[in-house]
């Protein structure tokens, strides 16, 4: 593993922390959910209406209660994930309402898209889990989308998946479904299986739905990513350090709530802060500013001793082109080398979170594979230093016929899966660019993928629960 790269000095980290505490204690934050306000009141904090004023001691004591790492359990224990430490978890994009096709046309997302991305993530060597709203299933009634998405995640792969963050009720449904699958609420309370994305309402607020979900998950001992997305220049100041302090304040407040409800709740420090383009106002995520926020977030999370979430294959492009590639590599690499643990949006995102693309998914999967290899760094053992074979070949020879080469190259080198390393004429037979090659590839993967079966009795129970809830909700 490569050492993690820090972009801030220790003094700068301390300054951001102090600024955040100043924001939290002097400006305070608003919580649009009475039960959350009650929790803070009980903790003895100053509350005016829905505005809560924090203290340095409170924040620091609560953040200490959060585990520095935790295991997220999968249906197949081989896919259990440790979140925190040196580990990195890659997964698909989240929340997009559109699919951009290979030719640049755009259409609405459906449940079939959700299933396809779950399968592609299930089949991937580089993506560690499937994720949450990989594509918003707009062909399904809003009331029951969360049920369909969870069931589809379970049926499509045996890797870890995410729960719904859309309010307390949907969080409780997610917990119920997970406990059917894993053998009861007490089992999953001991061994968390769900992780969900809780967002602040920047600047300095949390809304009712997010707080309801946060509280339900914290009570059930499930993991939550507590994230802030500040758009510097519009929902935050046009100042990088100030935006970081604002984001940090919001995340700290969220973590303190989770730890007040259930000390030891597994939390992840989350950031997707970026900037508003100052001409159009649109969010820009494929930017150096975003890479700076990603990098500093990894470092702040380390400072607090909690796992981090940020980054991904982030970009503002509309199609798989050079821009999609260079922007995504910058943000995915920033996340990877600075030590982000949980990389939501690793694969598939186009146009500042507005779209998913199958071709982009495959390109990002390749980048994830490249980065996983990069992160392993060098092997400094005997085979890695290879003195014997260097001596054996001596001046002027070559290594292609050496046993050492045959034995070691697979460990030392990564085999490219999407990149074209052919000579010109071979390539020129079809002249396929990345976009076209990726299109072929995902179609092939989907055609060949066999989802790991779910135990029939469990499946029956899941279906019964979903049918019952569907009736209640529709």
């Amino acid at each position: 593993m490569l050492p993690k790269y820090n972009i801030l000095t220790e003094e700068q980290v301390q300054m951001i922390h102090d600024e955040s505490i100043k924001i939290l204690s002097e400006v305070g934050m608003e919580f649009e959910y009475e039960p959350a306000v009650e929790v803070f009141k009980k903790e003895g904090l100053k509350v005016e209406g829905r505005r809560v004023y924090f203290t340095k001691d409170f924040i620091e004591a609560k953040v200490k209660l959060a585990p520095s790492q935790f295991t997220l359990h999968a249906r197949n224990p081989e896919h259990n994930l440790v979140c925190g430490g040196d580990n990195i978890i890659y997964m698909p994009g989240y929340g997009a309402p559109f699919i951009h096709e290979a030719d640049g046309t755009r259409r609405k997302t459906t449940l079939q898209d959700y299933e396809n991305f779950a399968k592609l993530a299930g089949a991937s060597k580089n993506l560690h889990m499937t994720g949450g709203t990989m594509a918003e299933p707009q062909d399904i009634a809003d009331e029951i989308r969360h049920l369909k998405m969870l069931y589809t995640s379970i049926k499509s792969s045996d890797k870890c998946f995410m729960g719904s963050a859309e309010g307390r009720e949907r969080a409780e449904d997610s917990i119920e479904i997970a406990s059917i699958l894993f053998g009861g609420k007490d089992v999953i309370k001991e061994k968390p299986v769900l992780i969900s994305l809780i967002n602040s309402l920047t600047p300095l607020k949390y809304d009712e739905r997010m707080l309801g979900a946060l509280m339900a998950y914290a009570e059930a001992g499930q993991a939550v990513v507590i994230a802030s997305l500040v758009m510097a220049g519009s929902t935050g100041p046009a100042a990088m350090a100030g935006t970081l302090a604002l984001q940090n304040a919001e995340v700290l407040a969220g973590i303190s709530l989770a730890e007040s409800i259930n000390p030891g709740t597994p939390v992840v420090y989350g950031s997707t802060s970026a900037l508003s383009d100052m001409h159009s106002g649109s969010l820009s995520i494929g930017s150096p500013e975003c890479a700076l926020f990603i990098s500093a977030s990894a470092q702040l999370a380390r400072f607090y001793g909690v796992p981090s979430r940020s980054g991904g294959g982030l970009n503002d492009s509309k199609i798989v082109d050079a821009q999609a590639g260079y922007e995504s590599m910058m943000t995915l690499m920033a996340a990877s080398v600075t030590g982000i643990n949980f990389v939501l949006h690793t694969a598939g995102i186009l146009q500042y979170f507005m779209a998913m693309s199958y071709e982009k998914f495959i390109m990002d999967d390749e980048m994830a594979g490249m980065l996983l290899h990069y992160l392993k760094g060098y092997h400094f053992d005997e085979d890695g230093l290879a003195y014997d074979v260097i001596a054996k070949v001596g001046p002027g020879g070559h290594f292609l016929t050496q046993k050492h080469t045959r034995k070691n190259h697979r460990r030392e080198f990564r085999i490219a899966e999407l990149s074209d390393r052919n000579a010109y004429d071979t390539w020129a037979k079809e002249k396929l660019d990345t976009n076209q090659r990726a299109r072929r590839k995902w179609q092939e993967i989907l055609a060949n993928y066999v989802p790991p079966a779910v135990d029939a009795a469990l499946d029956q129970k899941l279906q019964e629960f979903i049918a019952k809830r569907t009736q209640e909700l529709m």
Binding site: P97, M231, S276, M278, M354
Partner: protein
């Protein structure tokens, strides 16, 4: 007298709310024609900023602050214009703007509002999480030409449809043009729900309003 118009114009260009308000007060105190102050001062200033934004010479914060400055001036001058019973001149139109129920995304709506202000429209911004009946109540109160509804979530877009349904149910459909916008919306969606206009950007929305209201 034209000196103060020039100063008003400059104050709007500078996006300076305080000076714009001060100068507008001076217009009132000195009995200067408020319509001329609006036309030759405030509007001239905002037009220049709007053009400069299109040309990429100034940025969003410049336009938005100029729009705020202009509003501060109008807040003082308009009551006087109304009192005198004279016409304000060719105000382009009135638009009631808001983000639909269940949705709190407001940056795109705010930008849209500023661009309409900059183009000489009167904008009534209701804020976020707005129910259909609140849009319509405000539109009736101010005699709006356009109702503009922003939605950023696929789950709240239905709020835009509900506005149109509500208008129909109350026999008001032909009273207002309904514009919809926001990330997940599209021309296809606007057609499906029978909206009068959809635009992908705030700038396009203003152009569209010009075309629709000219009809």
């Amino acid at each position: 007298m034209s000196a103060i118009f020039e100063e008003l114009k400059q104050a709007v260009i500078d996006g300076d709310e305080d000076i714009t308000a001060e100068l507008s007060q001076k217009v009132l105190d000195e009995g200067i024609n408020p319509v001329d102050a609006v036309q030759q001062g405030l509007i001239k200033g905002i037009e220049i900023v709007g053009e400069a934004w299109k040309a990429g010479e100034v940025f969003l914060p410049d336009v938005m602050m100029s729009a705020e400055a202009m509003k501060a001036g109008l807040a003082l001058l308009e009551p006087e214009i109304a009192k005198l019973g004279i016409s304000e001149g060719e105000a382009k139109g009135k638009i009631v703007l808001g983000t639909v129920a269940g949705d709190i995304h407001d940056i795109g709506k705010n930008i849209t509002g500023a661009m309409f202000t900059a183009a000489g429209y009167k904008v009534f911004d209701l804020g976020t999480d707005i129910k259909p009946e609140a849009f319509i109540a405000k539109a009736q109160e101010v005699g709006a030409d356009i109702i503009g509804a922003s939605a950023l979530l696929t789950t709240t877009m239905v709020g835009q449809k509900q506005i149109i349904e509500y208008l129909k149910e109350n026999g008001l459909r032909d009273k207002f043009k309904v514009f919809v916008g926001g990330g997940p919306t599209s021309q296809a969606w606007a057609d499906e729900i029978g909206a009068d206009g959809w635009a992908e950007t705030a700038d396009d929305a203003v152009q569209l309003a010009g075309r629709v209201l000219a009809k």
